[in-house]
Symmetry: D2
Subunit: 273 residues, 4 copies
């Protein structure tokens, strides 16, 4: 078990009456329990909790008047990952795939698995199926992209990244997800906190469906997967923006932190979903 402290602070300059949907709170799952948590807004406005989507991501809805708005979130999460021997983890056939993972085979906004299917088959189609194939995809992404802050935008897609060979964590995740889906492995995007991430920021990584469970992978290799605290999951980054804004407001400051002890886990498969 691992105990991790996470926090974020977001400051906004709000110019019109504005609705915010924040998605920054750590999720309560079978493998991640929140033992201590505080979400506060200054000035004091009403905060409504929403459960959204198939996976029940938790959002905070806030209606703010013009002026300064500050979001503070702090939590302590206990991670109880299920750690498996990777060698035995199998891909499941389309024939036996549970119905509720099927949508994670579909292409999505930033993951055009449909247009890059030939590439995926050419590069990964003949590899041994199972955990090692997902590792091979993540290694390929890690080895062929340059991690360069500022090189991409919020509308950059996996196909863009495959051509440009440069990106940040969300781009790494989108490309790895697309390649998994293209060869028939359900995959999804996870937004979260990552221990000791440099520079500190929200992080994006992936889960692939193997042997009946979702397993974590971080194609950026910027943080050990045992130090990842989940906020929410979705088809891609479009589903887990940390803030969705209806109105006029500008983010003026953002601070994100995560720290804690976590075991090294390079040789293990980690399932926390």
């Amino acid at each position: 078990m691992t105990q991790i402290e996470v926090s974020c602070q977001l400051n906004y300059d709000v110019r019109t009456p504005t609705v915010f949907l924040f998605q920054v709170t750590a999720a309560e799952t079978e493998h991640q329990s929140i033992i201590d948590e505080k979400f506060s807004i200054t000035p004091d406005v009403q905060v409504e909790r929403c459960q959204v989507g198939f996976e029940g991501n938790q959002l905070q809805r806030v209606f703010a008047q013009p002026g300064q708005l500050q979001v503070n979130y702090q939590a302590t999460a206990n991670l109880k990952p299920e750690i498996d021997q990777p060698a035995g983890l199998q891909e499941w056939d389309a024939q036996h795939m549970p119905a509720d993972v099927l949508p994670y085979l579909n292409p999505s906004r930033y993951c055009e698995s449909d247009v890059l299917s030939r590439f995926a088959f050419e590069e990964f189609g003949s590899l041994q199926r199972g955990y090692s194939r997902v590792v091979a995809i993540c290694e390929w992404v890690n080895g062929h992209l340059d991690y360069t802050p500022g090189s991409t935008t919020s509308t950059t897609t996996a196909a863009d990244v495959l051509v440009q060979r440069v990106g940040v964590c969300r781009d790494y995740a989108h490309l790895a997800i697309s390649l998994c889906r293209a060869v028939g492995i359900p995959a999804r995007y996870v937004a979260g906190y990552a221990v000791d991430l440099q520079p500190p920021d929200f992080h994006g990584f992936i889960e692939a469906f193997l042997d009946g469970q979702w397993y974590l992978f971080d194609p950026t290799k910027l943080a050990p997967v045992s130090g990842l605290v989940r906020i929410g999951v979705g088809r891609d980054a479009a589903d887990v923006s940390f803030a969705t804004i209806t109105g006029q407001a500008t983010l003026t400051q953002q601070t994100v932190q995560a720290s804690g002890q976590q075991a090294a886990n390079r040789a293990s498969a980690v399932s926390t979903a």
Copy 2:
């Protein structure tokens, strides 16, 4: 109440052991009841029913050996649409939107509402909010695109269509959905059968969320909305392909039909979800 007969026949040349996910059966909803239905495969293979995704789309999973495969589907659907006076139908604020419709504001594979938001606001941002704004969006799409079979492919997106000004029903739907989402109206893709569609084919149309319900719109105007029989809904066409194939198989023939009496409904809002 309207009674509509729908049917389809799909023939495949199967070259390897192949998994098919068919999404062709009419949905059972509060407003659409299926009074008679037959889904059959020749040769006789096992058919597994799956419920998929947040909306519970119904799929038939089939595992087929090499050879000929024929799918036959016939159903009689009773439509009991809720017909409202359009004038009163309001858009809901982001503040009051039910949590389960929020994902239908996100951009998706073929609906890049994020990149065309400025265009949407410029063109539709100052219109009166409500049912008439969705109508205005559908009219704009109808008036500015040329309906041209073969002009687009399965990877064409709303942004492509906005530039090229040409497409088929799925393209019309994707663009209308994107514009709705961009101005803050949840919208989704509906795959179905359409009475008297020329040429006969599966059809794609949209639903927009107004006053707490989903209302039907067909930006192509190729069929009256009271003659639309729902198969399934999704973020866009990626979620409701009539056949998803894992293996090697070629569609050699496709026949789709829908017929029945339906009321004219030009002046009414129709909710069937």
Copy 3:
């Protein structure tokens, strides 16, 4: 006649032996004479003048060793534009178009006139042909884009801009050029200096071919066309980068200026090519 002083200073941090192709010097044309000019490099390295392409753009080629590199350019240009009555300027038929303007009807890197031809015909196809149609295209571009520094990148194209509705001078020019070509009017990109441009920078504008001559238009309306000093022309911005770098070097400072007296010219057509 108008006398305009232009200058630029570019500082580079050169990290490897690097070849620079600078394209910053004012062109000598029938309608633009350079009465005084100084191009210098610090440290003192050999500068080779090259004439490039069909239009004979003038480039300075420099081979620099690691260290600091400073480019200084100052010139006084006399503009003798030919000013015509716009009303009489005709588009020429494809049948009578001079052969050497035909390439300016082709799509180019940032001007995909091929994919936006339907849009162009729908919007501008029925307008009266001639000078007023080019004005209508420029007005449309000006009225439908938001001028926002930093909103686009060096790889943004006219089709991107048509969707996103935001850009800077090169984006305005690319879209206007594409729309002209799409309706059959040869059009090209001009890089230059613009009097009193705010903020000061290199500028990008266009020329359209009417009645046997090239006429100037600035879709941004940020500067009067009589205050534009030409550096070079090309199919789009790809042909007239102010610096093309082979090696590793970073631009650390850029200063661009243009000042002078120029006549107002809102009601006239200006040909300076």
Copy 4:
């Protein structure tokens, strides 16, 4: 010396008065002489020869009235290629590159060398410079794309092809050109006839600039480079369409042929420009 017979027949259904620019006649160059040639139009209309662009491509301009239009072209070309030992052919530095080849380093409509520069450097940046690097690029393109008629359209670009891994001759050429330019080798598109091409059609291939001359390469390997008869060259296929149409006309039949004896030339570099 090689003698090759080429011919094409194009039939059009012309619906409005229409201007055609045909680009189908074999070029007269230092290495390709036309010893016999007949270009005819039925019905008999005036044909104007135009020289277009920097390279002097030859076009036939025809103004046709509604009705049937038939183009017949037949020629006998003598090829006198200069055949060199590939091993010695060097890339020239940007420092010494002739000015008139510099535009062939710029990105163009279908060759986005700017967006795929990282990929090109990663894959080909460390290879030995010279003829063998261009061969390596063409081999890579040949080995990583599937040649599939109908898989792409007239607006498909090199970046699309790099993602989709499928295309026809023009797509192979565009990707190879882009990769050459991205690593600093001037490259251009050649449209022509190819002996024994199956299925018979116009062909697209490339030239790369090495050691002061343009050398031929065919990334499709569908025809020996000594059996290629040049029509014209350009930055990409946009410059050398076999027919550019202003008006309404539909191609109803197209026949293209090329036959002759040509030497095998697998181990030699061929310059015909």
